[in-house]
Symmetry: C2
Subunit: 248 residues, 2 copies
């Protein structure tokens, strides 16, 4: 990983897909010129409130969620370093989703016009942003199928696998063991379950020998069982793109 790359988290993600040119890396760096620190629990964007800025998440873990009329919450997505966030928010007067820091975070805010300029000046980056959006989209539809058609145990298992894979993308030292920076209530709000039932599913997975747990630290003992029962696929792997425009 070259030094020039690590100046931009977003560029690092894209580098997994193609070899970026210096020009492109330079342009991406500008998106992350400014930094902003968030404390654990801080709300970066509230639902239905206008906030027309975009962000690259540089460090930490965040989540996007919606609140329903009855007070319940659905977590839509967990966010990791290199994710571009806030894109849905710039389409509407009020953001359709809230953004909140799950750990201390660093985000890099940038203006909508910066995105616009990027698209004009770097068509290949525009295409890559499209590709990343589609990966995210496929992850969302995977989660849709999970909520619609799988059991509680499978959902919890799939979430654990997904978290592991996303954490591993940033930190290659992670193998099958990681710190679960989530409460059981948060896991429930992501999987459409109650925290009580999440607890029962976790211990059931533990009892069956699929996972092990030591205060907030989870080890996946039988990935294949977890993956199969929940139809889990790591959508960040196996991307094939040979049709991109030539870089500038």
């Amino acid at each position: 990983m070259t030094l020039s790359r690590s100046a931009s988290c977003f560029a690092e993600i894209l580098s997994d897909l193609v070899e970026l040119t210096d020009n492109e890396i330079q342009a991406l760096k500008q998106l992350e010129a400014r930094e902003r620190n968030l404390r654990r629990g801080a709300v970066l964007q509230r639902e239905n409130e206008p906030d027309h800025e975009l962000y690259i998440l540089r460090r930490g873990m965040m989540m996007s969620y919606v609140l329903l009329e009855d007070g319940s919450r659905q977590i839509l997505r967990f966010l990791f370093p290199g994710d571009m966030i806030g894109l849905p928010g710039i389409l509407y007067r009020g953001s359709p989703e809230a953004l909140c820091a799950l750990s201390d975070c660093v985000v890099c805010p940038f203006d909508r016009s910066a995105l616009s300029n990027l698209i004009v000046q770097h068509p290949r980056l525009a295409a890559l942003i499209l590709v990343v959006n589609q990966i995210e989209r496929v992850s969302l539809t995977d989660r849709l199928a999970m909520l619609g058609r799988t059991t509680a145990k499978a959902r919890v298992g799939a979430l654990l696998l997904e978290l592991r894979d996303r954490l591993r993308a940033t930190d290659k030292s992670i193998d099958n063991s990681f710190t679960l920076g989530l409460t059981q209530e948060e896991i429930g709000d992501a999987t459409g379950l109650t925290s009580v039932h999440v607890n029962r599913m976790l211990r059931q997975l533990e009892q069956e020998g699929s996972i092990a747990r030591v205060n907030g630290h989870v080890t996946l003992l039988d990935e294949s069982v977890l993956a199969r029962s929940a139809n889990y696929v790591n959508r960040f792997e196996g991307i094939e793109i040979d049709w991109l425009p030539v870089p500038r």
Copy 2:
């Protein structure tokens, strides 16, 4: 609606967002140069099979879905004229979702390189494609919250509202009454329910006076109740985009 516009379904959708230039319309027309007819029930793309073509749906109604190991199906999205489809499929060796015609359809296939060229030559169209992707994304997250956190009745109600709105986008004559071109099993596969329970929910909605039904034809009698109970929002409305690049 000018004549030049109607030559491209996709252009019509984009015209709701901005005023397109002749150049842009011309470019979009080329995406829909070829046509292909599909019979009701025809599978345009099978899951996990390679098909690296893209399509604009010109006429009819389609769906995208995934099949799970246990044989159950999750319908991800219903597709309507003007929708660009197959985009997730060009990222992976095997398509992550299947595409199937729910009625007799006309699709316009085009090559990935055509998309690539469009992005290079028409940055504003690239940005608009990004915007349309985000609208779709927000619709998906709405459905995620629906599956995770709302009751069976609310889900069915929300689906009816969504169908009405999408059909109305193409056919302005539709008000609160439309033909439901879906079986109750399909409604179930979209809402994460069994067909049996969908039936019960439909009759319950009917009994409460929220909807009326005459062999496959549904009338929404109390939209506000349906919308509120399911947190339904029409995401194709209220788009605000003032940050797009200048057109070519």
